[in-house]
């Protein structure tokens, strides 16, 4: 799924507008799905955490893990509290079926978070703020940008959860649609707009437009594998995040494909009936809200098509089949705990790898960019030029301190060392080494060489203003979150042959 396709969809209004009349059915179907993703992503976030939210939680975990004043028990307690409050805020268990292996774990976590909110009058936003984690993110629309708060829950979430919670029924409807011949006008599909999910389906049909596809028959007899719980658990950290997920959009797009391409009206109706039967009682406030909002959803989606959040370009990958998740057992619980507390489970640092980032006489990665560096120290450096270890680079002509363009640090020493290892083992590193002329033994790699390393490595502050010598006139530096690439220099030790790290710090991928 190419990101460029998202860009095309973001900038246009209809299938005809994006020139897909001549495209294959499969292409059109994919486009429909992607466009629906765009619609959904533009509305609100989902019950799983978004990529941005996972990054915020990772940053908070790193702060907790790096707080040396906490005992291991206190650290665990704070991590658990963080996860519970985050879960409660987006109702992370709400979209998970009772048949899901992770249902009990996530339900308990959500209840725990709700209890914390009620008893202590706090929430995830306050908790993250106390840990100095920025909970806003920016979406772009053309040349303009808008700032949003993370951890919100809205109309689209309710729809997604209803569908996700009844994944099997929706999947069965889609499979049935795939084997029925005939034609149904797209307008007929808007007949689904009677209540709840049906209305959403109808509204989105109008948004996406007519596409055709006949996909095969084998799905009908296949037992449906639930995915939601695993996806939610994975989404607690960028380490396991599978990309953003919008079950409403998926269901709509798949139903649309069948309805418009060959399914009879009764199939669409049956799907609608199934879904409506699966809805909670009509006094459920979420469902009432959805029913009222249904007619306007299509228009709202159209209106918001131009505001596709940055995060929606993250490719959505299919989850790998996980035996522990498929077979309910204590393994599943252990797996989810490991995923929820990735940092807490493996604090060990390989001493050989540690030596490689500390052995060079000029090495300063850990002291200036390691896990012990605080945000306050980074901010101070961005304003004054003074590094966390007290070092100041002095301009030879003016004699004044030089303020670096970016002051950044990894979330933990372990992450710094792991990143160093990843880079050493990368083809970019090996290529640089191979390209060195004879007699050269220093290499530098930056974000242009390394690209997005796919992980929230650290945070930092960007110096504001153009002058590196006049920090006092530059005001507050700009906070940079989710730094996902790195800049570093390595020098080969002529005696040992080892490449020793001179510096390594996180930066934003281009």
């Amino acid at each position: 799924m190419a990101a460029s396709r998202y860009a095309t969809i973001q900038d246009t209004g209809s299938l005809a507008d994006i020139g897909l009349e001549g495209a294959s059915d499969t292409d059109i179907a994919h486009t429909g799905t992607e466009r629906s993703h765009g619609v959904g992503n533009a509305q609100v976030d989902y019950r799983q955490f978004t990529h941005y939210e996972a990054g915020m939680l990772d940053e908070a975990r790193a702060t907790i893990n790096n707080n040396t004043s906490l005992s291991p028990e206190e650290r665990f307690e704070q991590l658990n509290r963080l996860n519970a409050l985050a879960c409660a805020e987006v109702r992370c268990a709400a979209g998970v079926s009772e048949n899901d292996d992770f249902y009990d774990i996530l339900t308990d976590l959500q209840r725990e978070g709700e209890a914390l909110k009620e008893e202590q009058g706090t929430d995830i936003l306050q908790t993250l703020a106390a840990l100095d984690v920025d909970t806003t993110y920016v979406t772009r629309s053309g040349r303009s940008s808008n700032e949003h708060d993370g951890f919100q829950y809205g109309v689209g979430d309710a729809t997604n959860d209803i569908i996700s919670d009844h994944e099997q029924i929706v999947a069965r409807g889609v499979q049935a649609g795939q084997v029925v011949a005939g034609t149904l006008e797209v307008a007929g599909a808007t007949g689904l707009c009677t209540t709840g999910v049906g209305c959403t389906v109808g509204a989105a049909l109008g948004t996406v437009g007519a596409v055709t596809l006949a996909e095969g028959m084998d799905g009908l007899s296949k037992e449906h594998d639930y995915q939601s719980g695993e996806r939610v658990v994975d989404s607690f950290s960028l380490e396991g995040h599978q990309g953003n997920y919008n079950p409403t959009a998926d269901a709509v797009a798949e139903v649309l494909v069948n309805v418009a391409g060959g399914a009879a009206g009764r199939v669409a109706g049956r799907l609608g009936d199934d879904v409506v039967e699966a809805l909670p009682s009509s006094n459920n406030p979420d469902v009432r809200l959805e029913g009222n909002a249904g007619d306007s959803l299509g228009a709202r989606a159209d209106a918001e098509l131009g505001e596709l959040p940055e995060r929606s370009v993250i490719p959505r990958r299919e989850p790998e089949v996980d035996q522990a998740a498929k077979n309910p057992s204590s393994d599943a619980e252990e797996l989810s705990r490991n995923q929820l507390y990735p940092e807490a489970e493996s604090p060990e640092i390989n001493t050989q790898h540690l030596d490689l980032v500390t052995s060079h006489p000029n090495a300063h990665s850990l002291t200036r960019h390691g896990g012990d560096v605080t945000d306050e120290q980074l901010r101070h450096r961005a304003l004054t030029g003074e590094a966390p270890d007290g070092h100041v680079k002095i301009d030879r002509r003016s004699g004044r301190p030089v303020v670096p363009p970016i002051s950044s640090a990894f979330h933990s020493d372990k992450l710094l060392i792991e990143t160093d290892q990843r880079i050493r083992n990368s083809s970019a590193f090996k290529d640089k080494v191979n390209q060195l002329p004879e007699g050269a033994d220093t290499i530098t790699l930056g974000p242009g060489d390394l690209g997005d390393l796919g992980q929230n490595l650290g945070r930092g502050y960007r110096r504001l203003g153009g002058s590196r010598l006049n920090p006092e006139t530059q005001g507050a530096p700009q906070k940079l979150n989710n730094l996902n690439s790195a800049q570093g220099t390595w020098k080969r030790n002529s005696e040992t042959g080892e490449w020793e790290t001179i510096t390594l710090f996180p930066v934003k991928a281009p």
């Binding site: 000029n362 303020v403 363009p405 970016i406 640089k432 007699g439 050269a440 530098t444 590196r468 001179i502």
Partner: protein
């Protein structure tokens, strides 16, 4: 546009992000290039100082890493001569 791999490889050490002292920068530069590599960086320096197609200010900016935030082309040229050429080839004129 000509490419200058040796220079692009070593210039980041001058960034304030690296925060090395001038002595550390000099030491790292001298120890990084010997033999054939020293000849190559010498040739690159000679070429870039004569290169009329390149903006030395942009070249030293290095996409925001700021090896040296030169005020103008002359300032950029002086940096390359004083901080690299004179350190590597103190007895030769560029």
């Amino acid at each position: 546009m000509k490419k200058y791999p040796c220079l692009l490889n070593i210039l980041p050490i001058y960034s304030a992000n690296y925060s090395l002292s001038e002595e550390e920068e000099d030491s790292l530069l001298i120890s990084s290039y010997k033999g054939v590599a020293l000849d190559e960086i010498k040739q690159e320096l000679k070429t870039i100082l004569q290169d009329g197609e390149i903006s030395l200010v942009e070249f030293l900016d290095m996409d925001g890493l700021e090896a040296y935030p030169a005020e103008d082309e002359e300032d950029a040229k002086n940096f390359l001569v004083e901080r690299l050429w004179c350190v590597l080839f103190p007895k030769e004129a560029p």
